[in-house]
Amino acid sequence: MAAMKRHVLYIVRLKRYLSSYLGTILILVSLIGSSVRAEVGRPRGVAISKSSFYKPGDTFTCLDNSAVLPYSQVNDDYCDCKDGTDEPGTSACPNGFFHCTNAGHKPMYIPSSRVGDSICDCCDGTDEYSGEVICDNTCKELGRAAKEERERKKQLLGEGYEIRKQYCEQGKTAKEEKRSRLEQLQYDKVQSETIRNDMEALKNQAEIPEKEAKDKHQQAWEAEKASRQANREIDQITSAFKELDKNGDQFMSKEELQLHPEMDIDNNTVVSDTEAKEHLEDNDQVDFDTFKDKVWPNIKDIYRSPEPVAEEPPEGSTVEPEESPPVDPEMEADNDKDLDEEDDDDEEDDRKDERGEEGSPPAQEEEKMPDYDEETKKLIEDAALSRANFDEADKRFRDTEKELNDINSFLNMDLGPDEVFYPLKDQCYEFTDREYIYKLCPFDQASQRPKSGGTETNLGRWGHWAGPENNKYENMKFEKGLNCWNGPDRSVLVTLHCGTNNEIVSVAEPNRCEYTFNFNTPAVCIDTTPEEPHDEHDEL
């Protein structure tokens, strides 16, 4: 209704203007040849709103008051005023302006340098009056086209605005949902953290007796093994002594030692007296105890018995039924099970066994630690359960934390006024031109790939809103894309325009590796321009 009233008013004004204009056609006829006045009461190039400054008289004062001139010097094709206002209708002043009325379309100021240059700058052609060129009056058509364009834009704006409203709804709802979920999660986090801590305490508690029992068992086993090992060694030493003591006199002499060529130290295949005595700690002969304590350590690595010594199975141990490569079956068996502490212990034991037997004859059979007793087993079971409980509680806590963080990031996202850009999040839009397919994923990243197939090149990750101060949501900046050889990291500046569909409408690369996209979206279908003035007739 208001729009209608304005239109009526405009027509009324126009009628008044026209009638006064027609009225002065007669006066104009008598002023033919005068270049001073083209229309009612004002010099050529002067807008109606300024005509009061150009009232005909004896003098004219420059609008900046810098000089007073004889009125004849207005539009006399010579620049007299510093501000160029004495020559509104000619090209004489470098800083002057010419006003075209452009009835039927938009009135316009053009720089004085465009007056009389043989180019039709005003649609009513009034800027060219020397006769050198005749300008058609195209204001009616332009006015009509401009009106159509305005209406089209208004229509688009209207449609887009409706969609935009929905976007705001979606965005607001999404954020609200997330906010309430956030509250819940914060509560959950506290809860799950408490539970987790409790479980941790229980776990630690259960692990103490478990460890004690296992350690005890372990230590007993170690002791057992050590004693077995000691016994084995005694046997070895005894056999060796027996063998070395060729004459059976319970003494091992250097002569007897010299019978063993492997005792040779200096590699001359002969065991000298000196060498033998060195092994014998400077004695000529040793008894069993001395042999065991002093000599055996010297020679145990080099001593070779003439026949392989058959290992006598020590008492009371469980032994592998067959000789087999020491480690592998155990390891394989262990690898098949889920690794938990029990198996880790076994593996460690096996490895310890290996090390302990380096200096002894090969093909030693593996000794396996006996099973835990029932009591210990129970403790282990309990501890395992408490560990499982803890893991579960911990996972639940971590998941809650993650969701919390995700929601916080989301809530911190700048989705525009009223969260209008929410529907664009998690979407991607593509545009194909001659060579490439461009892809834009708002708030995420931009990329291109060749039409004919090939790798995707990253043009930039979401940076920030990059519009001008009064409206930062006009532009998006994506940056730190793939680096250009000898140039910048690729980046994209997206300009948003009102449109009923979300789509990229054009892509350009005005600077090497710096891209611009034009993107239509209903999200920016709001009227940011001031109301179109119908004309400059403000004399009422």
Binding site: Y78, S91, P111, S113, R114, D117, I119, R512
Partner: protein, 481 residues
């Protein structure tokens, strides 16, 4: 509009020119008599033998408006890469034993190859025109005589201060050997000049015969409106300064066509007795009236300018007077170009701002008169229709202005010239006038005397005469009392 046409022809059976060249045997041959095949922008390429007049005729005919699709009489040409440039050739040019017309080896005709192409292109533009229009062809390769066919430039330079500096001795050398319509790429072809360098380069280029800003594809954009505001304004002022001097440049080029001689000159050409000018490469003359000393250093706050001769020199911006025979320190800001008008000269200017030079062809003139110590000055002005060859049938104006004994006279010095113009005189500026006149009047051919408003500035001894309003192509006298 100017588009680029290089001499290398893509060897491609879908390309009309290649097919015609091959079937007619127009290509330069290699030493074995086959079409010479070299590598250039399009890949495998052939080169037309411009040393052959038949082939030049063929090339020229290709510019006919119905041959060259989409072209109009406003489309002109830039012949680049016409040394010729051959990427896989020795010293990046054609093999010395390639064979040309009349069995000449390339080594003998290499230096004129580019000239012949430019010539042929220019002839093509002349022939295509139904309105007797003049051609415009820019060429990279040139030889003695190229000045008759168009403009040249100094090739692929770099956006560095050293390259700005060296443009002057290069162009001075070219001018001395007759290649007057020459210039260097403003801003440098390679690399990215900073805003200050770009500004100073526009300023220097505005006072060199051929002005063109250019850049390699991979450089950052550097249009003036993308520069910081201060620099953009300084660049705009430099371009406007050049445009306002176009009547002066145009007159110099006319005289150059008639009599030869350099347009951009080392100082010693006009002052051969002044030994101090012999090694000066930082200043040069444009015609006989203007001394130019562009700023070519970063962050410069002033330059030392040597003023030759037993005369005086006037700063064209401030009208400060500098006696000749000494060096003076000239302070500069970003938008200052040290330019000086010699005492005793009259320069015709068109001070109205236009978007293109052609749009100002009917604009009025301003005469800037700088007096010598004797109070005299003279200058000339050539006018024609600015775009056709009709000046060769007498459609031109060539006049002389003299100021002596307080009288400014406009006289015709070539009665063969019959052209008429509507351009008139809107202002006269007389610099170095010792005393304010009491009365100024103009007498035209009708002997009617008209009194003229005027204003005198005693600090700079400048008199401005308002709106004489007389036609620039007629005899008149302005007298001071």
């Amino acid at each position: 509009m100017v588009t680029i046409i290089d001499p290398h022809i893509k060897r491609d059976d879908n390309y009309k020119i290649h097919k015609e060249a091959t079937s007619n045997g127009y290509y330069v041959k290699n030493k074995d008599g086959q079409d010479y095949d070299g590598w250039c922008w399009p890949g495998s390429s052939g080169w037309l033998d411009f040393t052959n007049p038949e082939i030049r005729k063929y090339w020229a005919s290709k510019f006919a408006l119905d041959e060259y699709e989409g072209s109009t009489e406003s489309l002109f040409t830039w012949n680049d890469m016409n040394e010729p440039s051959v990427f896989n050739g020795p010293e990046v040019t054609m093999h010395k034993d390639a064979k040309h017309f009349l069995d000449w080896e390339h080594r003998d005709v290499h230096n004129v190859y580019g000239l012949y192409q430019q010539m042929s292109t220019a002839q093509g533009q002349i022939q295509r025109s139904t309105k007797n229009e003049r051609p415009f062809v820019l060429s990279r390769a040139f030889f003695s005589g190229s000045q008759r066919w168009g403009a040249v430039w100094t090739g692929d330079n770099t956006g560095e201060w050293a390259h700005l500096k060296i443009s002057m001795p290069m162009l001075l050398s070219l001018n001395l050997v007759g290649i007057t319509f020459s210039g260097a790429d403003v801003g440098g072809f390679f690399k990215n000049p900073d805003a200050e360098l770009l500004t100073r380069w526009y300023q220097a280029g505005a006072y060199q015969p051929f002005l063109r800003a250019h850049a390699h594809l991979d450089t950052r954009r550097r249009e003036p409106w993308l520069q910081p505001e201060e620099n953009m304004k300084a660049i705009r002022e430099a371009i406007r300064a050049r445009y306002s001097l176009l009547p002066y440049w145009y007159t110099l080029f006319y005289v150059g066509e008639i009599r030869g001689g350099p347009i951009m000159k080392p100082l010693w050409v006009d002052f051969p007795a002044d030994k101090a000018t012999f090694t000066d490469e930082d200043s040069y003359m444009i015609g006989s009236a203007l001394l130019v000393h562009p700023v070519t250093d970063a962050g410069s706050s002033g330059v030392n300018v040597y003023f030759p001769g037993k005369t005086v020199w006037y700063d064209v911006d401030t009208y400060t007077v500098y006696p000749g025979g000494m060096t003076h320190y000239i302070p500069v800001t970003l938008n200052k170009i040290p330019v000086f008008q010699k005492g005793g000269t009259i320069i015709p200017r068109k001070n109205r701002i236009r978007r293109a030079s052609n749009l100002g062809r009917f604009d009025p003139y301003t005469l800037v008169i700088c007096l010598d110590p004797q109070g005299s000055a003279e200058g000339d002005l050539y006018i024609d229709d600015y775009h056709t060859f009709r000046y060769r049938q007498g459609e031109y104006i060539y006049r002389k202005f003299t100021f002596e004994n307080k009288k400014l006279k406009n006289r015709n010095i070539d009665y063969k010239g019959t052209y008429k113009t509507t351009s008139w005189l809107e202002q006269v500026v007389i610099v170095g006038l010792q005393n304010k006149p009491t009365h100024v009047e103009v007498t035209g051919s009708s002997s009617e005397r008209k009194s003229l408003d005027h204003s005198y500035i005693p600090e700079t001894k400048v008199l401005v005469i308002r709106r004489p309003g007389v036609n620039i192509g007629e005899d008149w006298t302005i007298s001071l009392q």
